[in-house]
């Protein structure tokens, strides 16, 4: 029992901090650069990701374990996963719109953007490669998304601070954001000692 808990904790720390999804794996860069203008929206995007990625990890892993593997169809995983994720996001959106309106109001706008977020597919594929169980892959998905939230909120905070700074003209906009992310990536390499 203790062993499983320790194992899950190490998965969580590895997925959220050590192998941070954006800063060390470069997955989900599009929303990371695109939706990090304000801390508030960045946090909303992060929460939507937590929701969708945890759910997608669970569902894709279940499909892999109970359908693809027994039928010897694991080579179809890329096609099946991307379709499942696209459908899942649509379904979650419709479900929230109908039944949990308050949650939809806060997360709804971010949901369509998540289909194109490569982090969702990346986590699903990594779970299969690493041979995680259902519980482990859900935890891994959750922790990855938490790592994404941490990174995007920090970047949004930095962007708010430097918004009115006097930056050389060619470096305005995206280059400055990328340089800020570079410094964050250096800071996050410090976590590799935790492994």
């Amino acid at each position: 029992m203790t062993n499983t808990i320790v194992g899950l904790l190490s998965i969580m720390i590895t997925a959220s901090l050590v192998n941070n999804v954006v800063l060390s794996q470069f997955l989900g860069l599009c929303p990371f650069l695109g939706v990090s203008r304000k801390t508030e929206t960045a946090f909303g995007m992060g929460m939507a990701c937590v929701f969708v990625i945890s759910l997608a990890s669970l569902v894709t892993n279940a499909i892999y374990k109970f359908i693809l593997q027994p039928l010897d169809l694991s080579f179809l995983q890329t096609i099946v996963f991307i379709m499942v994720i696209a459908m899942l996001v649509q379904f979650v959106e419709m479900f929230l719109k109908k039944f949990v309106v308050s949650l939809y109001q806060s997360l709804g706008v971010y949901l369509p953007l998540i289909t194109t977020n490569c982090a969702v597919l990346g986590v699903a594929l990594n779970n299969v490669t690493d041979g995680y169980s259902l519980l482990e892959s859900t935890i891994c998905g959750f922790a990855t998304a938490v790592g994404f939230t941490i990174a995007i909120v920090i970047l949004a905070g930095i962007r708010e601070k430097i918004e009115f700074n006097d930056i050389p003209k060619p470096f305005r906009g995206m280059p400055t954001v990328l340089l800020a992310s570079a410094l964050m990536a250096i800071a996050f390499t410090g976590f590799s000692a935790l492994r």
Partner: protein, 288 residues
């Protein structure tokens, strides 16, 4: 715009050659349009990784463009996004299996980024913007041109990162200890201390930042000469959109519910609208 009608580099519009050079130079996906940034950052730790990734993407891009162009009259408009994804994912699986069988080392080095070609903005963007509207031959060459443009760009980025960060070029030691260059020049080169950070994650961000800054400068210079620069991207990605104000969303939601009572809602257009609609506002802002 006379240039637009004439096509890229003075070639006739929509001929194979025009499409090829359009993708390779005029609308280079990485350097000019600035889309598909995830693989650009992730796999450019060495030139050979960039080259392999680029060629794999080119293969998928050319064939998926051709197939989507063939099927463009069969696929209904409302389900075109899932249909495109299935076509693209099939070719990606093909590439994945072939690479696993014949170049297992490269397959391992690139890892999860090979299956992630599916969500590469370049491929979906070309399917949507070009292949779904044009004939098979120009679509195919559009894919090849765009793919090779991407390949050249990420190979060069990989080459620089490898050279600065490790002193090697396609795994041949040029700078630093054990340089293959003979004589006095070789001695001079061997004194170089590789800047390791360039092959680490932070290096990718720095290199891309400098690259975009250079392209911005190029854009400013072109603007000074009065040339059209509307094609230039801002270094974002496909979902680089402005997020709406939550209060407005609430109002919109109420309005939508009213409308939904009157007419049945369709599912798909939502996704599409969110992707396209706010982009121009954003890019204008960045261009200033």
């Amino acid at each position: 715009m006379s240039e637009e009608r004439k096509g890229a580099l003075g070639f006739k519009q929509d001929t194979p050659a025009e499409r090829f050079f359009n993708g390779l130079i005029v609308e280079n996906p990485t350097l000019v349009l600035m889309i598909g940034m995830c693989p650009t950052l992730a796999v450019t730790t060495s030139a050979i990784n960039g080259l392999t990734m680029g060629l794999a993407t080119t293969f998928v891009l050319a064939l998926s463009n051709a197939v989507i162009s063939l099927l463009r009259k069969v696929i209904p408009d409302t389900v075109r996004i899932p249909s495109f994804i299935v076509v693209i994912a099939s070719f990606v699986t093909l590439v994945q299996l072939v690479m696993q069988a014949y170049v297992p080392k490269m397959y391992e080095a690139l890892g999860v980024y090979i299956p992630l070609i599916v969500v590469n903005c370049i491929i979906f963007g070309r399917a949507e913007a070009y292949a779904s509207k044009n004939n098979i031959i120009p679509s195919f060459f559009d894919g090849i041109g765009m793919g090779l443009g991407f390949t050249c760009a990420i190979t060069v980025i990989g080459l620089f990162r490898e050279l600065i960060g490790g002193g090697t070029m396609f795994d041949v030691q040029i700078f630093g200890e054990g340089s293959v260059v003979p004589g006095a020049v070789g001695y001079f080169f061997s004194q170089y201390q590789p800047i390791r950070i360039f092959i680490q994650q932070a290096g990718a961000f720095i290199v891309l930042a400098v690259l975009i800054a250079i392209m911005n400068q190029v854009k400013f210079n072109l603007e000074k000469k009065g040339k059209d620069t509307s094609k230039f991207g801002v270094g974002g990605c496909c979902s680089d959109v402005e997020i709406k104000d939550p209060h407005k969303v609430k109002e919109e939601l109420l309005a939508k519910e009213k409308a939904a009572l009157e007419a049945k809602e369709t599912i798909k257009p939502d996704f599409k609208a969110a992707e396209k609609e706010p982009v121009p506002v954003n890019s204008k802002e960045e261009n200033k």
